[in-house]
Subunit: 403 residues, 2 copies
């Protein structure tokens, strides 16, 4: 399947009253349990998803390409129709989005670790013994308030030893190297400019690190810090510009709200459960024509290697589904941003099952929503960036190309 | 299915102890025998390949694109993950690799034919009556030793009327036209520079042709020569650079060893039979983490239109397979570089069946290795350049892309 790009879609998309719901079950795809030969999705009892699949059209998506394991950022950008190789989101930005930090366009964000160094300055523990989050918060406060060459480094705790530093000031260029050596027994690396324009950024980051070394000296095991993934918020065309949609995100985890904000989605406040998210959908249904609903638990269970819990969360989603289908949206898409097989305990490269349900979808012969069944689906195996054009078409929001 | 490029893979590939075996059964794909409705692969009794397919995941590859028939060079480059349209290998270079000629980076190689011309200088037989190889060898020796404008043309016999000429000297640019008119009743064409920088190359080639015409005058039917496909060895990133692999080739035919050398594989000496190649694999198994095994007989049988012999060679491969599987490599890929249906007596554009076997491959419902069954495989139909990313992922040699 060849693909078309955002600029192409922008020229043929039209606004209309029809509504699209994109339900993302994070890390949906799995691998078969060796005892049963069935994946998490195939093990789960999912009468409602199966019904949608039977009346809809199914397939398998590659978020980036065959063999490539996506992070959450690239996985979601692809679902929103943005080429994740072209629009790369840096580590620092992803971390800032993950704590709901309100990144400004000129801010440069970096991922930070508090770490332990010995008397010779060599790293002995890249995670400072995973200090408690409270301690991380206290150390961030200790380091905040500095101004270096008119730039303010703003440190915010994430969890345990992890934090984000956002450099706020004018004219910063994020093309600098990491200080994190990614190994122990060596000194943190000086940060260097990867292009001449980034010299000031490198200098400011190195000054911060030197000051931090002094301030943290008495706070063993967190007596030093490591920075990596310097990056700025990417400039993405909004979903309104590209698709003429009025889009909203319903997600209980900050990172996914942050990713959605990058493409111009409005954030709807919601609770932590699947039912909370569906209640939010119902309350706001009249006000938007595109909803991105994000379910986190499946990915977390997969990462924990908890096959049973992943099955159970898929079943919870299935049970709650009627409050979504009863709204009778014109297009429902159910898929994941990548696979997270419990057997691998991590994101993986395996293609992700997808179902698309609409009045105009030309149903195939797939009768259940599963990895195996989706292999024979009418959508075939395709690139995730093509989901949005398909959803838009099924919502009759794309005009004819050419005379 | 979208693809990612070598540069992308280079950034996420990591070295690890896992092992990958790529078994290429040359010209594997076929067409159904009109009497039985079964292809060569479907006719062959292949219990071991079928077992690998049943426990693995299958699909169909397009080496270049739908409808495009690949030569051996492009077909193999695609299998190694190199876009064969971007990295084109000239005819002269392929011919030189085919006789194990040790091409240097600055050498320009051309494919040569001894041919017959009449008294008016018009070509009457482009192959000089297919003179015996011995005669070709003698004529090459006759023409060797010339030095033209500080360049030495080195002629080496290939088979019958075919030879290779390698121009060795400094500053040669291969962008010149062919002298071979590809028809009879016309004169050989003067060689012309296609870009200004190639003027010297064209002049030297024309001087060689003029001298050869005099020297060969008394050697009817081989009283003239035709040259085509002037080319230099392409500069390819090595598989070690791209994939961090330590790769080796086991192939009884020189051309395939030559193609593998272009991407940095180490050549392992082997014999002429399938069993020889598998013995070589076993002896060297500990020393490499990627093996390209090449089986030539299927392609030759297909080119000869010998359906039965192609079936028989596939069965020989199947019988010998246990000495490969008993090594328990982490990833086994079995496919071909293109189809060579006995009915067509030539390479063809038909997609080639592929199976991938690994602990992490998410098996599909395909139970036998055949063209028909692979249509429903979980890998779908995809571009051959994506095999390497898939194999690398299944060997857990690719890290996550993006945070």
């Amino acid at each position: 399947m060849n693909s078309v790009d955002l600029e192409f879609i922008r020229h043929i998309s039209v606004s209309s009253p029809t509504k699209i719901i994109l339900l993302v079950i994070d890390g949906l795809g799995g691998l078969p349990n060796p005892e049963t030969g069935k994946t998490e999705l195939e093990t789960a009892n999912t009468p409602n998803l199966d019904k949608l699949a039977a009346n809809g059209i199914c397939g398998l998506i590659d978020p980036i390409g065959p063999g490539i394991t996506p992070g959450s950022g690239p996985g979601h950008l692809a679902l929103f129709g943005y080429n994740p190789v072209r629009f790369n989101i840096g580590r620092g930005v992803v971390e800032a989005l993950g704590i709901d930090f309100d990144l400004q366009p000129e801010d440069v964000a970096a991922r930070g670790n508090f770490c332990t160094v010995d008397k010779a300055g060599l790293v002995t523990d890249r995670r400072a013994g995973r200090i408690p989050t409270d301690e991380c918060t206290r150390l961030c406060q200790l380091l905040n308030g500095l101004v270096i060459d008119k730039v303010r480094p703003l440190l915010s705790p994430v969890r345990e030893h992890r934090f984000v530093v956002v450099f706020r000031g004018e004219g910063l260029v994020p093309a600098v190297s990491d200080s994190d050596p990614q190994q122990i027994g060596v000194a943190p690396k000086p940060i260097t400019a990867l292009i001449p324009e980034a010299g000031r950024m490198a200098s400011i980051a190195n000054q911060l690190i030197n000051k931090a070394k002094t301030i943290l000296a008495e706070h063993h095991p967190a007596n030093m810090l490591l920075l990596r993934g310097f990056s700025q918020r990417p400039q993405l065309p909004t979903m309104n510009e590209v698709y003429k949609l009025k889009p909203a995100v319903i997600a209980s985890y900050p990172m996914y709200r942050g990713l959605a904000k990058l493409v111009g989605m409005e954030v709807l406040e919601t609770g932590t459960s699947i039912e909370d998210e569906l209640a939010t959908l119902k309350q706001n249904y009249a006000n938007y024509d595109f909803f991105f609903l994000h379910i986190k638990g499946t990915d977390s269970a997969g990462e924990d290697g908890d096959f049973k819990r992943k099955v159970s969360i898929i079943e919870q989603v299935d049970s709650a589904l009627s409050s979504l289908t009863s709204l009778e949206p014109d297009v429902i898409v159910v898929t994941g941003d990548h696979s997270t097989p419990a057997l691998l305990k991590s994101h993986s490269w395996h293609p992700v099952p997808i179902l698309l349900h609409s009045k105009w979808c030309r149903p195939d012969r797939v009768k259940e929503f599963s990895e195996s069944a989706c292999v024979s689906g009418g959508l075939g195996r395709f690139h995730a960036t093509q989901i949005m054009p398909l959803a838009m078409a099924n919502a009759l929001k794309l005009t004819k190309f050419g005379a």
